[in-house]
Symmetry: C2
Subunit: 260 residues, 2 copies
Amino acid sequence: MDNIEHIKELARSAGAIALGHFRNVTPTWKEDRSYITQADLDVQAYLREALDAAYPDDGIVAEENGLRKLPRRGDRTWVIDPIDGTASFSAGLPIWGISIALVEGSRPTGGVFYIPTVGDLFHTGNDGRVYRNDRPAQLRSPGPFHGETSLLIASRLHRHYTLSRDYPGKLRNLGSTVAHLAYVATGSAEAALVEPVYVWDIAAGMAMLEANDGTLVYIDGTPVDLAPLLDGTRMPQPMLGGSREAVAAFMDVITYLPGC
Amino acid sequence: MDNIEHIKELARSAGAIALGHFRNVTPTWKEDRSYITQADLDVQAYLREALDAAYPDDGIVAEENGLRKLPRRGDRTWVIDPIDGTASFSAGLPIWGISIALVEGSRPTGGVFYIPTVGDLFHTGNDGRVYRNDRPAQLRSPGPFHGETSLLIASRLHRHYTLSRDYPGKLRNLGSTVAHLAYVATGSAEAALVEPVYVWDIAAGMAMLEANDGTLVYIDGTPVDLAPLLDGTRMPQPMLGGSREAVAAFMDVITYLPGC
């Protein structure tokens, strides 16, 4: 990602816009029966304009209102979730954030995620490392499951999955998919189970996982190709993200019940 | 709770002590196979000394090292969890906090909870209201379940409970039981399912729920008496907290599988 300091600055400024609305918004329902707020729209407009001005040849894909601008030349697309975790934002829960990723062709080559309430800023560096608050961070070391092993779960786990009672560890759901992937990528949890969502919900986190030699794959083990998702298509399957060892281990204890 | 401003100040100072250790600690295992860190010990020592000095006649019960000081006179006991959410704290996850409650006889009559990373401070006011960051906040209005209904779950939901797939809403687990009860008490989620834990994991949140006309009850519907838990006894059953309507509704969709 070129000029990572610029993208981090955009994320921080966008976060300040969102914080100005936090706990002072009334959400409305979108067609897909999820929430949207004025904060999502304001942040998206800000980021769209800033990225358009700085990188006029690049494409832009963003969550709200089906925003899609194709690249004028080349194959670079900025993928934006203005507020990942709008439901939490609307409820006054603390974990939500600004997600900006760069996708080149079908691969996420850079990502920034900022959680304004906490001040946690995650980014991929041009040195190939992943940073949390400008300190490099790694995936957790793989190891056998134990009582403090953490799986960050999809918020509708009970409807679409069964999880073996033999898994001795903990379940967490902070309310933001990108936050889940970013915390896994920086070693705060072993893995994340992601329900079938959209490219803006995963691109930045996927860039971080891959930069740290982790992976984000569909739950049947097939690799994720972002290119067919750039038009806003919902993913065909859930995903698991983490180290290769953690993903393989969680595949053994999670069963997906499609169509439920 | 007398002198609530003093207790809030203690929580803030304790939070600063904990923040000084955050993401710079190595946890060790306790006998019950949960984590403890130097931060838990430092915060507990600070709060114990401060409460002892200010309220010498009162009892103190705290999580670490079986601390229990009986009241010298009267029936007031300060119940402390120096860091509620030690596993999250140890992992570098953001939601954990300092919990201070006052129990008079068997009832929690006041509570303060502070999440230093976010800056959220919850307290029961002497006017009978519940405050988040000094602004009064209420429980969510009861209503039928929908896609954005939030249940804050126990972290081992998969081992001890089944949750009906007919429940259309979301599951969250932020990593701190008191945080769950405090966010429910201030309207950010409908209800919290609490696994059988200890008095310091619930006392402050229970005070907030009750002050806002909500409830925290055992999952079979029996009321919670804190008196027999003040010696550090683990609760006999899980609990549900929220408005009376939400608790009743969630009792219908959650099944507890004891002994698993």
